[in-house]
Amino acid sequence: MSVDRCLDNLDEAIEVAKVVGLDVRTAIATRETARARIGFPSSAYVLALAGGTGVGKSTLLNAIAGEKVSPASARRPTTSNAIAWVPSSRGRELAGLLQWLGISELREHTGGALADVAVLDLPDFDSIAREHRERVDALLPRVDAVAWIVDPEKYKDHIIHAGYLSEYAPRIRRQIVVLNRSDLLSSADASRVAEDMRDQLRRDGVGDIEVVTTRARQGVAGIGELSEWLESAVEAKRVVAARIVAEAREAVRELAAAGGVVGDSPVPLIERAHRERALVAVAQGALAMIDVAGLERQAVAATRFAARRRGAGPLRHLTSAIYRLIGRDRAAADPVGFLTRWHLRGSLAPAVEPMRGLMTSRLPEVPAPLRGALARLSAPASLERRLAETIDKTVAAEADRVRVPTSALWSVFGAAQYAVTALLIFLALWFASLFGIRDVPVGTIPLPYLGPVPTPVVLLAATLLAGYVLAKLLQMHAGWLGRRWAKQIGEHVTRDVRRRIDGDLLLPLEQFDASRVALNRAVRMADDCSNLSD
């Protein structure tokens, strides 16, 4: 049913309005009222006679009823509690509805042409009895149709136009303006006044309301036009539905108007190009915190450390133990630890500054009720929190992937270093035997410039040189491997941070924009809905 669809649309509008920080209390009250009204039977509708004191509301009801149902008097104000004139056939089924309306004074009638309408004679809304106005204001949102009663004296009062017609009329489908007491005027004057009233209604923005003239004091004879309108074939169910739909539509419109999104679909708050530029700047700031250059140093050091373990021969036990002891392995060769400690390397404030500046520059362009929510989104603390989460995610993903590279070559180096060490031991034994056992003959090797040099000395020098060259080669290879790997990590982190920042950082802003678009769409939905129900 279309009424349900309209109310669902209102629900949705309320939800998205909350996202952009609008005050939705009125809309919720409207929805509750509408839902409550649906809960009561709609086989008859409730028509209220509303107007200032002395315009003849009670007299008019008496004329409609053809008997005295509501006391009319010259004393102002007369009616202080609403009186309901109800078809007796509907008395029982309307009891709950009337109770919800807060009406205790009932007059029953046999019905006839008006068998599906309950007429309420309301108190005035313009007298010194302020509680009358309060009662009217409490009742009007709950009635299904209204006849606005004016007279030649009061038809242009500020209160009825500014306080009631332009406020309530857009929310009501079945309504009419009655220029009562027109017997005070000549018929030419009466039609001039009616025309002037129509002009004013147009200025109020509710120009489509019909204006009829009545002379309630003359009884049934004086209210011909009004009776015609009252008896015109309308289905009560449709009156009730149309009223609810109109209320829902106005509630949605009001939300959209407060959010400044009536009319064309709203464009994103931040232009694409500006947004891209700011995101690049934010990513740069984030990378500066991660310190990619530092990370690369760590990666190289870690690779070298790994290479030493496998390719440094037996002596590496000694150096590794020393490094472990002084903690250098963790401090200088721990890319994972370095990554996860990114937040200790400074403040994110400079990183989010470009985005904050960009977002706050839009504040004057959104309507005042939205600014609180936008200011919250662009608050540096919340941007920083979001950016930190993004970096943490990147770092966690990256840390899982970190595998220090390795190479089979290192084992070859290691084996060679073992050979070198063995040779050194052999040479040491040789030297020892030279000193221990006298007159062992030693060969010499003639070297250029130096002449003949004893073989063990040459061998020792050559072995030491080989050991040194091997160590250097290992270091160079590990360095080359490490740098290549470090570059990969660096590029990966950079790419990942950029990608995640693009996707994540502005999610709340996108939600904000999406909600504005949804609110705008809800207006069109509400319009469609109310057109359908007509």
Partner: protein, 560 residues
């Protein structure tokens, strides 16, 4: 009214009008309060002052009432001619019609009685010289869709000597006219009520008249016993020849006006009565305005306090962050560390062989160039961002808190820039830091008094030493909790050693303390400036209280 004190009274009126004017210049969140202040000013300038100055000036009779009650018709009856347009289309009168003889009109206008009414809304209807002494003003209605009519009527209520309040049997219990009438009674204006369009039916007629008398006597509680001069005109009692009311029904009023025109003593009596009532009415009005002011002062205090406390909290948080050492990014710090850790710089710190080695290295390679620009730029960017972060948050929190208050929500809505730090805040931070850095350079120069220090500062460059001092501000006593051990702590340590070697411990402490104090002062003044945007939106509580006190002082003197 004795003539002797009139000069003093005029002086008091002027003083009071001056205070009212001052009050109007102060921003007010309540239209009602502003209305009262305007009322006082209009009343003083439009009535009290001219009336005190000349008790024999023409009487101003003001016709007031709701739309369609027949004010214009009544004026036509008084004038015996159609001087004001009456008709069925509401509202009929949008202008103020002044019905007076040429001489009276001149006296009234030059006397300033109608000063608040725009020339183009004032229509003159010439009366014969025989009406000299009494002028009648037809005010526009007070309750129709034309809202500026109401403002004109309000001004006229303050300017008249005699009010003729025209209403009808339908209207007499309407709220809007009732409130205007209440003001008429409060300001002690002599009143005649014309009840128009009373039903012909005898019973209804009696009921309506009795009810009207009962109701009207209730307005302005003080005058309960005073009878209301009530003139009753029935529905259809009209004089179509002038589009006016029937003469014979309005006769009591017409006679009264005629008598006033004829007898100067009578006029003077009415004027004196109106003036006495007005002076009596000034006191409660002035006190009511003073009450408004005092309430506003309390509200303004509260609003300013909200701004002060949020800004204070955020400034404290910023100060903590700055002193926590978490200011500079490791990336930049490392470059500084490389500089102060270089052997060539270490020669100032180390001794023995290390020193010898450092001196030799310096001889070969020269002193390395300090990354002064990079560190300064980093410091500026970071401090600016941190300050902006906290100032924006302070502004946002203040705006949120203000938006929750009915007296400030409109202010926040009118100024979208309140939701974040002002546009000039970032540049102001940068400018301030620039000055701060230059001051540190000057400090370093003036502290390098000792011979050795002069040479060392010269060798490193005065700017580099200044940067070392700046870094000392952030990391000197910070304890460096949380900062990545290594770069930050290492840099701080080296920095400190370097400065100590150059200046000695005491001078170093002084340099850093000076720099820190100046930074704190800079940030405080920047935050104060940003907060001043909020403070400026509400009137200063001190001013409000001053004006209130003066108001009370002036009228207290008057009451005596």
């Amino acid at each position: 009214m004795r003539a002797v004190d009139s000069a003093e009274l005029i002086a008091r009126c002027d003083r009071l009008a001056g205070v009212a004017e001052r009050r109007l210049a102060l921003a007010s969140a309540s239209p009602a309060a502003e209305g009262r202040a305007r009322q006082l000013r209009d009343h003083l300038e439009g009535f009290v002052r001219p009336r005190v100055a000349d008790i024999d000036a023409p009487l101003l009779v003001v016709l007031l009432g709701p739309t369609g009650a027949g004010k214009s018709s009544l004026l036509n009856t008084i004038a015996r001619a159609e001087v004001s347009k009456a008709g069925v289309i509401r509202p009929t009168t949008k202008d103020v019609v002044l019905y007076a003889s040429e001489g009276d009109a001149h006296r009234i206008l030059s006397g300033g009685r109608l000063f608040a009414i725009a020339k183009d809304r004032l229509k003159l209807a010439g009366a014969s010289p025989s009406t000299d002494g009494v002028a009648v003003v037809d005010a526009p209605d007070i309750d129709s869709v034309e809202r500026d009519n109401r403002e004109l009527a309000d001004v006229l209520v303050e300017a008249g000597d005699l009010c003729v309040f025209v209403t009808t049997a339908t209207r007499y219990a309407d709220l809007v006219p009732w409130e205007v009438l209440k003001r008429v009674r409060e300001r002690g204006l002599p009143l005649v009520v014309v009840l128009n369009r009373v039903p012909a039916d005898e019973e209804d007629r009696e009921a309506v008249v009795a009810d009207t008398e009962r109701l009207f006597r209730g307005t302005g509680a003080k005058n309960l016993e005073e009878p209301i001069a009530l003139i009753v005109i029935a529905e259809g009692d009209v004089d179509p020849s002038v589009s006016g009311l029937a003469r014979e029904k309005a006769l009591p009023l017409l006679e009264r006006i005629a008598r006033l025109a004829a007898e100067a003593d009578e006029r003077r009596a009415v004027a004196t009565l109106a003036l006495a009532g007005a002076l009596k009415g000034l006191v409660p009005l002035a006190h009511a305005i003073a009450d408004d002011l005092e309430h506003e002062a309390i509200d303004a205090d509260a609003l300013q306090r909200i701004a002060a406390s949020t800004y204070g909290e955020e400034l404290a948080a910023l100060t903590r962050e700055v002193q926590g050492g978490l200011v500079l990014r490791a990336e930049v710090l490392r470059r500084w560390n490389d500089f102060v850790g270089a052997d060539q710089v270490a020669r100032f710190i180390s001794s023995g062989i290390g020193r010898l080695r450092a001196i030799l290295l310096t001889a070969f390679r020269g002193t390395p160039v300090a990354p002064v620009t990079a560190v300064e730029a980093e410091m500026t960017t970071t401090l600016e961002a941190l300050a902006l972060r906290h100032a924006s948050e302070a502004a946002r929190r203040t705006a949120v808190a203000w938006s929750d208050r009915s007296d400030a929500i409109a202010l926040v809505a009118r100024h979208p820039d309140l939701w974040t730090a002002s546009d000039g805040f970032g540049p102001a931070v940068r400018g301030g830091l620039d000055v701060w850095m230059r001051a540190i350079v000057d400090d370093v120069r003036s502290h390098a008094g000792r011979k050795r220090a002069v040479a060392q500062v010269a060798a490193l460059g005065v700017n580099a030493v200044a940067v070392a001092v700046m870094l000392g501000v952030f990391a000197y006593t910070a304890g460096l909790t949380g900062a990545e051990v290594g770069i930050a702590a290492g840099t701080a340590l080296l920095n400190q050693k370097l400065l100590e070697a150059i200046f000695g411990e005491r001078a170093m402490g002084e340099l850093i303390a000076n720099a820190r104090e100046r930074l704190a002062a800079l940030l405080t003044s920047l935050f104060d400036q940003d907060r001043a945007r909020f403070d400026a939106l509400v009137a200063a509580p001190k001013d409000l209280r001053e004006v209130a006190a003066e108001l009370r002082a002036v009228v207290d003197g008057m009451a005596r």
